[in-house]
C-alpha cells in the first residue's frame, strides 16, 4: 500500500516553511545559506513524490539536477559571504545595509 502523495506534499511544505522561517529570522549569513538549502530540498521531495504519483521518472532525475544546482549555488554563496565579511567585518546580514534609501 503506497503512502498517499498528500503526506509527501505536507512534508515538503513543512520543510519549505521551516527553511523560510530560517531565512526570515536568522542573522548569520551561513545560517541563511543553510535555510536556503533546506528550501531547495523541500522542493526535491516534492519532485520525487510526484514522480511516484505519475509513474514517470522525470521527477527523480530532475531532483538530481536540482541537487547539483544547489551545490553550485552554495559555492557562489560562500564566495559572496567571504566578500561580505571582508567589507563589513562580520557575517551579519542585518549589518550590510548600504544599499538603502
Amino acid at each position: 500500500m503506497a503512502v498517499d502523495v498528500t503526506y509527501y506534499l505536507v512534508l515538503s511544505a513543512g520543510l519549505f516553511c521551516i527553511g523560510l522561517a530560517g531565512i526570515l529570522t536568522r542573522k548569520n549569513a551561513l545560517m541563511f545559506l543553510m535555510s536556503v538549502e533546506l528550501m531547495l530540498n523541500a522542493a526535491n521531495i516534492n519532485f520525487v513524490a510526484f514522480s511516484l504519483q505519475w509513474g514517470n521518472l522525470t521527477g527523480q532525475t530532475f531532483a538530481l539536477f536540482t541537487m547539483a544546482l544547489a551545490a553550485a549555488e552554495v559555492a557562489i554563496g560562500i564566495g559572496i559571504i567571504l566578500v561580505l565579511y571582508r567589507n563589513f567585518d562580520d557575517v551579519d546580514v542585518t549589518d550590510a545595509t548600504s544599499m538603502r534609501w
Binding site: 523560510l20 529570522t25 546580514v93 545595509t97 538603502r100 534609501w101
Partner: protein
C-alpha cells in the same frame, strides 16, 4: 477700371515698408525714396479713384473670405472677409491720407536725413507700415476689418512715437499712447463682436451685384426699427428693445473712437505723443490716425443716426473736449504741445458736428483740419530744425525775417485754425457750429437742449482757439529774438519748404469747396461742391450717401429738425458766422495785445490758481495713474493671488503629494535582506489566499 487697382493703393506703401526693412541700410536715403515713390503712386491711384467716383460709380468688392461661421437658426451664415468699399467719403479720405503721407515723407528728408539721424530704415519702414494700415482702414468695407487696421495703426503709432527709444521720454510716451488707446479699443472690440453677433455681418455697405443674403448692418438696423421698409431677422440678446441695444453697440464702438481721436477722457496720450519726431506728429497725430475715430463714426453714420442718445453723447463729449483742450493750450510753453491740445480741441469740433447731425460739416472740417494741422506741425518742425531742436517758445522770437516761407505758410495755417475769413478753417468750423445751432434750436426736448449746450461749449472754445493760436504765432515769429539760437537759426532746404508751400495753399484755399453761408446768401447757388459730392453714386444711394443720412435718417430716426433764429435761414447763417468770426477775432486781438510786442513776458500769473490746474492738465494724468494704481492694481493682485494660490497651488499640490508620499514610501528599502524576504513572503501569502478564495480551492 480704377477700382481694379484700388488694392495697390494700400499695397504700395506696404512694399515700401518691406523694402525699407530689408534693404534700408543699403539705400542712400535709408528707405526714403521707396516711401516717396510708394506714396506718390498711392496718391496717383487715389486721384484716379477719386475721379472715377466723381463720375458716379462706387465699388464694393470682397477681396478675401477668411472664414465662414455658423450663425445658428436666426443668422444663418456669418462670413468674415476682407473687402474694399470705395464711395465718396473713402475716396476723399484716401486722397487726403496719401497726399499728406507723401508730403511728410518729403519733409522727413529734411527733418531726419539732413539732421543726421540714425536708424532711418526703421523710421521709413514705420511710416510705410502706417500708411498701408491707414489706407486699408479707410478702404475697409466691414467693421471687423476696420478694427484690425485700427489696431495696426495704433501699433505703428507706438513704434513711431518711441522712435528714439534710448531716451527716457519716448518709450514711456509710446507705451502710454498704446495703453490708453487700447483701453478704448477693448470696448470697440466688444462692440464689433456684438454687431457681428446681432446682425450676422459687419458690412458698411453692399454693392449692386451682391446676393440677397448680404446686407449692410446699418440698413438692417434701420429696417429693424421700422425707419425704412423691409423686414429683417436679428439676434438681439435677452429680447431687449432694439433701439436700446443699438445704442449700447454704438456706445461700445464709441469707446474706441474716443480713445483713438483723443477725446475726453482718453485724451491724455496725445500731448505725450509729441515725443516722437515732428513729421510723425504731423502725419499720425494731426491728420490721419486721430482722424480714424471720426472717420469710423462717419462711416457708420447710418447706424449712429438710429440712436439719438448716442448722438447726444457724441455731441456733448465733442463740445466739452473742444473747450477743455483749448483752455489747456493757452498756458503751454512748447510749440508742439500747443498744437497737440489744439488737435484734441479740433477733433472735438468734428465730434460735435457728427453728434449734431452735420455729416457734411464734420467731413469738411476733417479735410480742412488735416491740411492746416499738418501744415502747422510741419511748420513747427521747420522751426524746430532752425532752433536746433529746442521747442520752447519763450526761447524763440523774431524768426519772421529769418524764415519767411515758414512764417507765411504757418500764418496761413494759423488763420485757418483760428477760423478767420476767408481761410478754410473758417468755412468748416462755421458750418460745424451752424449745424449744432440749428439742430439745437429745432429739435424738441432734451436732445435739443443738449445740442445747444454743446454748441455753447464749442462757441466758447473759439475764443480760446484764436487766443492760443496767435499767442503761438507771435511768440515764435514776432518780436526780438530771445536767445542766440533764435538770432541765428539753422537754415532749411527745399525738402522742408516744398511741403509747407503745398499745404499752405491748400489751407488757404480748400474752404472754397463748400461755402455754405455764401450759398445761402446767394439764394441757393450750387456751390456746395462737397455736399453734392458726398451725395455720391446711385449705387449706394440708400446706404452711405449724404442724402440718405440727411434726408431720411436724420429726421425720421434721430428726430432732428432744423430751427432758425431771426431772419429765417439766411439770417441764422449770418448771425452764426458773424458770432463765431467775431469771437475768433476777439481772441486773436487779445493775443496781439499781450504778445505782439518786442519783449513779451509771461502773463500766466494773472490766471491765479487756475494756472496750476491748467498747467497740470486738470490733473487728468494723475487721475489715470491713480485709477491704475488704486483700482486696477488691487484687482490684478487679487487675480494673481488666485492664480498663484489656487491654480498653481493645485499643480504644486499634486507634485508635493507625490514628493511626500515618495519620501515616506522609500523607507521600505531598509537595506536589510531579510526584510525584503519578509515582504516577498507576505505578498505571496496574500496572493495565494486571494487566488484560493476566488478559485474555490477550499
Amino acid at each position: 477700371m480704377a477700382f481694379e487697382f484700388a488694392p495697390a493703393i494700400a499695397a504700395l506703401p506696404f512694399v515700401s515698408f518691406l523694402v525699407a526693412l530689408a534693404f534700408g541700410d543699403r539705400m542712400p536715403k535709408g528707405g526714403a525714396l521707396a516711401g516717396i515713390l510708394a506714396t506718390a503712386g498711392s496718391l496717383l491711384l487715389s486721384l484716379w479713384v477719386f475721379l472715377t467716383v466723381s463720375g458716379g460709380s462706387a465699388y464694393v468688392h470682397d477681396i478675401h473670405t477668411w472664414t465662414v461661421l455658423d450663425g445658428g437658426s436666426v443668422l444663418n451664415e456669418i462670413t468674415l472677409h476682407f473687402g474694399l468699399l470705395l464711395d465718396p467719403l473713402a475716396a476723399m479720405m484716401l486722397l487726403i491720407v496719401s497726399l499728406i503721407a507723401l508730403l511728410v515723407h518729403v519733409f522727413s528728408l529734411g527733418y531726419m536725413n539732413d539732421e543726421g539721424e540714425t536708424g532711418l530704415p526703421r523710421y521709413y519702414a514705420g511710416l510705410g507700415l502706417f500708411t498701408f494700415s491707414m489706407l486699408s482702414f479707410v478702404m475697409a468695407d466691414n467693421l471687423l476689418m476696420a478694427f484690425m487696421f485700427f489696431e495696426l495703426v495704433g501699433l505703428c503709432s507706438f513704434l513711431l512715437i518711441g522712435f528714439w527709444f534710448r531716451e527716457d521720454g519716448p518709450p514711456s510716451a509710446a507705451k502710454k499712447a498704446f495703453l490708453v488707446t487700447r483701453f478704448g479699443d477693448y470696448f470697440f472690440l466688444v462692440g464689433v463682436v456684438g454687431i457681428v453677433a446681432t446682425f450676422g455681418t459687419s458690412r458698411f455697405a453692399v454693392g449692386q451685384g451682391a446676393a440677397d443674403a448680404a446686407q449692410a448692418f446699418p440698413v438692417m438696423a434701420a429696417k429693424a426699427l421700422g425707419v425704412t421698409e423691409g423686414t429683417v431677422s436679428l439676434a438681439i440678446p435677452g429680447g431687449m428693445d432694439p433701439q436700446l441695444w443699438f445704442t449700447i453697440l454704438g456706445l461700445l464702438v464709441l469707446g474706441g473712437v474716443i480713445g483713438k481721436s483723443a477725446q475726453f477722457p482718453l485724451h491724455t496720450w496725445l500731448p505725450d505723443a509729441m515725443e516722437g519726431p515732428t513729421p510723425v506728429s504731423a502725419l499720425i497725430h494731426a491728420a490721419t490716425m486721430v482722424a480714424a475715430g471720426v472717420y469710423l463714426v462717419a462711416r457708420m453714420y447710418g447706424f449712429y443716426l438710429l440712436s439719438p442718445t448716442t448722438l447726444g453723447i457724441i455731441a456733448l463729449v465733442g463740445g466739452f473736449t473742444a473747450l477743455f483742450a483749448a483752455t489747456m493750450a493757452v498756458v503751454k510753453r512748447e510749440i508742439k504741445q500747443v498744437l497737440a491740445y489744439s488737435t484734441i480741441s479740433q477733433y472735438g469740433y468734428m465730434m460735435l458736428a457728427l453728434g449734431a447731425g452735420g455729416y457734411v460739416a464734420a467731413t469738411f472740417h476733417l479735410m480742412t483740419h488735416a491740411f492746416f494741422k499738418a501744415l502747422l506741425f510741419l511748420g513747427a518742425g521747420s522751426v524746430i530744425i532752425a532752433m536746433h531742436h529746442n521747442e520752447d517758445m519763450w526761447d524763440m522770437g523774431g524768426l519772421k525775417e529769418k524764415m519767411p516761407v515758414t512764417y507765411w505758410t504757418f500764418l496761413a495755417g494759423s488763420l485757418a485754425l483760428a477760423g478767420i475769413f476767408p481761410f478754410s478753417g473758417f468755412w468748416s468750423k462755421d458750418e460745424v457750429l451752424y449745424e449744432a445751432l440749428v439742430h439745437g434750436l429745432g429739435t424738441v426736448g432734451t436732445q435739443g437742449t443738449l445740442l445747444l449746450v454743446a454748441y455753447a461749449f464749442g462757441l466758447l472754445a473759439v475764443v480760446f482757439t484764436g487766443f492760443y493760436t496767435f499767442r503761438m504765432v507771435f511768440l515764435t515769429f514776432h518780436g526780438e529774438p530771445r536767445t542766440d539760437t533764435a538770432k541765428d537759426p539753422h537754415g532749411v532746404r527745399w525738402n522742408v519748404k516744398g511741403p509747407l508751400v503745398v499745404l499752405g495753399v491748400l489751407a488757404a484755399g480748400i474752404g472754397l469747396v463748400n461755402m455754405v453761408p455764401v450759398k445761402k446768401l446767394l439764394g441757393g447757388a450750387e456751390i456746395d461742391f462737397l455736399h453734392k459730392w458726398l451725395g455720391g453714386p446711385t449705387a449706394l444711394e440708400a446706404q452711405t450717401s449724404v442724402h440718405h443720412y440727411a434726408d431720411v435718417l436724420l429726421h425720421d430716426a434721430a428726430g432732428y429738425s432744423a430751427g432758425t433764429l431771426a431772419g429765417g435761414e439766411v439770417g441764422t447763417v449770418l448771425i452764426s458766422a458773424g458770432v463765431s468770426l467775431g469771437l475768433a477775432v476777439l481772441g486773436a486781438l487779445l493775443a496781439y495785445r499781450l504778445y505782439a510786442v518786442p519783449e513779451p513776458v509771461e502773463h500766466t500769473e494773472k490766471l491765479g490758481s487756475v494756472k496750476d490746474l491748467l498747467y497740470n492738465n486738470y490733473y487728468q494724468d494723475e487721475f489715470q495713474v491713480f485709477l491704475a494704481e488704486r483700482v486696477t492694481m488691487p484687482l490684478a493682485k487679487a487675480a494673481d493671488t488666485f492664480d498663484q494660490g489656487v491654480i498653481d497651488g493645485v499643480v504644486n499640490g499634486t507634485s508635493s503629494v507625490s514628493l511626500f508620499s515618495g519620501r515616506r514610501i522609500k523607507r521600505v528599502q531598509t537595506g536589510v535582506v531579510t526584510n525584503y524576504a519578509l515582504l516577498l513572503t507576505l505578498g505571496f501569502l496574500v496572493l495565494v489566499v486571494a487566488m484560493a478564495v476566488t478559485g474555490g480551492w477550499f
